[in-house]
Symmetry: C2
Subunit: 551 residues, 2 copies
Amino acid sequence: MEKIIIVGGVAGGMSAATRLRRLKEEAEIIIFEKGPYVSFANCGLPYYVSGEISERDKLLVQTPEALYDRFRLDVRPEHEVLSINPEEKTVTAAHHGKQITESYDKLILSPGAKAFIPPVEGLDEAENVYTLRNVPDLDKIMNRIDQVDPKEAVVVGAGFIGIEMAENLKHRGIDVTIIEKAPHVLPPLDEEMAVFVQNELKEKGVKVITSQSAVAFKEKGRIIVLEDGKEFKTDLTIMSVGVKPESSLAEHAGIELGLRGGILVDDTYQTSVKDIYAVGDAIVVKNQISQEDALISLASPANRQGRQVADNIAGISRANKGSIGTAIVRAFDMTAASTGLNERQLRQAGKDVASVHTLSKDHAGYYPGATDITLKVIFDPVSGTLYGAQGVGVKGVDKRIDVIATAIKGGLTVFDLPELEFTYAPPFGSAKDPVNMAGYAALNIIEGLSDSIQWHELNRELKKGAVLLDVRTESELESGRFPNALNIPLNDLRDRMDELDKEQEYIISCRSGQRSYIGERLLKQSGFKVKNLDGAYALYQAVRPEELEYV
Amino acid sequence: MEKIIIVGGVAGGMSAATRLRRLKEEAEIIIFEKGPYVSFANCGLPYYVSGEISERDKLLVQTPEALYDRFRLDVRPEHEVLSINPEEKTVTAAHHGKQITESYDKLILSPGAKAFIPPVEGLDEAENVYTLRNVPDLDKIMNRIDQVDPKEAVVVGAGFIGIEMAENLKHRGIDVTIIEKAPHVLPPLDEEMAVFVQNELKEKGVKVITSQSAVAFKEKGRIIVLEDGKEFKTDLTIMSVGVKPESSLAEHAGIELGLRGGILVDDTYQTSVKDIYAVGDAIVVKNQISQEDALISLASPANRQGRQVADNIAGISRANKGSIGTAIVRAFDMTAASTGLNERQLRQAGKDVASVHTLSKDHAGYYPGATDITLKVIFDPVSGTLYGAQGVGVKGVDKRIDVIATAIKGGLTVFDLPELEFTYAPPFGSAKDPVNMAGYAALNIIEGLSDSIQWHELNRELKKGAVLLDVRTESELESGRFPNALNIPLNDLRDRMDELDKEQEYIISCRSGQRSYIGERLLKQSGFKVKNLDGAYALYQAVRPEELEYV
């Protein structure tokens, strides 16, 4: 009887196990899981902290008993695999002090990623510092909360999990400070998009400190010291600065590792050692956009990989085509999501990139409850190849990013975005969806109808002598304005064109970028030199409010 | 100075006008609109009936004055174009009894579609029968409501607008009966999907009569008579049985017409007559999936076409690639959406089609507030080409149909659906999204891992001697069951396999189709002949509740 051993009973590992059973009724399938639980809801853990998910059992999606009853899986929790012997094709696991050795015909490694813990002075003595990767981690945090009733908490690292933890701790009534080493929260997003989340966190009372990291813990962790010497009291500290592949078991078995210690696999998920496969957060994948190696710790690819490795083992050929990385986070009333590569990554890779920022409503503006979506689409300025997209807003951000993720996976370009036909009725969308609008804006750039500059280029252009022309109405200026901008409301522009100079470079702006584009077209056709401030005042105000004037 | 005349000031016409201005600052652009308003929110009209959209002004998205101020458009409402003289390149319009003739260099027709009014006896004398295509139509309906305070209303035609009207009239406290000639509401959807909306309408107190049409009005419309002779009292009747292209103007100008009187255009939107273009609901388009001629009355394609014709006139080449038709409707707490072709259309066209129905949650089941989505994906059983999809549910249906619409536009197949990487955090989705799951289900069919039958094939299979095997738990059976089904809960199936006969054909079912598929795999690998009832009990119960047993 064929014997398949799987190391790791969450996401990739369990997807592989159940799919294998559906393909190989006769195989013996053993799953070794280091922790006490399998198939738990990792992505749900933060929501238990606030009580939004109120029953702990809800997090335990499957049990070994249920998996045996339905799939005849031999699920062994609290079994830590200590070593693999590829020559003898055995694995040895420890369980409550005993060692168990099992042979395998095929071995699938799905060990996941573990929290990266930076070497911070005093961390070993700290009694209130936690990470959150699994249910026992969560239990420890909840115990701490029950025992000390924390008033102040610090979250180190403002990635997706850090932000979810900040929100959920705050919902419990705890004062939360979030500390991020990068210049802005949510490093996977570009600064001007992440700032919407940063502003929301602050508005909801979370203290946000960026460009700083924790350098020391004092008083058993009750004091946290930042690079700049500032100290904070904390009753509870969550470290969420990132993850790294759990690949030491693989390494000791002689399996080849790659990027940052990730397990190398071929496109059928075979490692460098015969009959050993690997899937999930621990493996190196190809980023489908850059075609470069990447580590992508997300549930969706892990589940797919688990299923695909099962297929390959069962003789149904499946190639790992790679991942693009699509993610989302809710921060109080704001949602931020991204897919593909961000502008920073692309520029670092030396790519020539263009981007557009559009501000649209999630559904028809004439129907009640419409809210703003700021959408950024990043693309090749010549071919229009889609590199990535980011969105922020209250509602409907998930839908737009999912659509663009689908477009990227399908090899579509920005030329295709206006062609997409979406469900439209007033409660759901608009006749011209935000994704269509972003496509039109990108086309205008590629086809030379519009020249735009980005928010971070404004000051440079102004220093070089450009004049900023704000085409908002006078009443709009009352809520804030660019210093030293010329103001001619768009509807007056034709009549007041003689106030402008054809030798002068102008940067045109409005609130969202739509009126300024109309103004740009008007001025360009009239012989003026003008560029559109992409994202316009609304984006600038989000990212650089301190540079603006308020009456 | 170039002079462009546009006939029709909504959607396609106005998109063309504003885009033309951005490309041709010097052109004279005149828009003749038959009605009193331009750029009004047609899709919002039903929501004003209930007061959900409470201000009538919200429906008037643009005014001629605003369009002049911003775009120097010469917008002329209440100007009905009576004739076109293609030789002299003039159009003649009537305005308050006067005739005005204007010359053109280019003429764009965007006349839209008008309500189709079937020839019903007594309709001419009826005083309470209305259609709803524009604001004056709405005003008439609102006047009627104000004057007679209707107790009972009838909506004839259960398409998208009919259902919206039924909902909004009901929200006003009016008793509503909806009459549909087809065997089910929402004829653009397949029966088993539309039935969810039908059930919701009934549950919310709307009377639904199908397979019937109105054959006569009596007593000035106060009585409506159906084919079967039944009579209904009605204080207010809405006719919404469909639309037809408003193409008589084009026809009289000698422009070639096609399918059901639609205006024929080439892929640059030129009609058969030089310098006359047409866009919007009035034109014949290519259905991108079938490559056949189609009439598609939707706002999204109309807006795109308007922009594209402007580009073509301005020398930026754009081809009309056709449309796939994506639509959505809210019916009380239920949403139904579709994209592409439905199974009925495909079968009528002689296509070999397969389909899968999946039942999934809109977001992670362990996070509060998850609701069911029933998704149907229709595809070529050999190549996996996506033909269409339909979804029903409380939340998140728009997102899934938009994603599949994007996949169809991108030429993806069902093999690509599992590869799609969506935004996943518990409030937004699942690690395996409903779209991924539908892809997996389709792959299982194509690759022969699963054989399925559809709900409408069940009785035929049972008559041929198949035995229905229900693998739900005993407690689930209490809420309803198939008559004469064998019941072995899935988890007992391995142990009780000796109760089954290897010579016997089995149809296996559970609630959603997921456990039955697991059972199917188990039985198939053990040598049994078994097919999965696609959609399983939940779908069957929605569409054929009367065939089931309730204890």
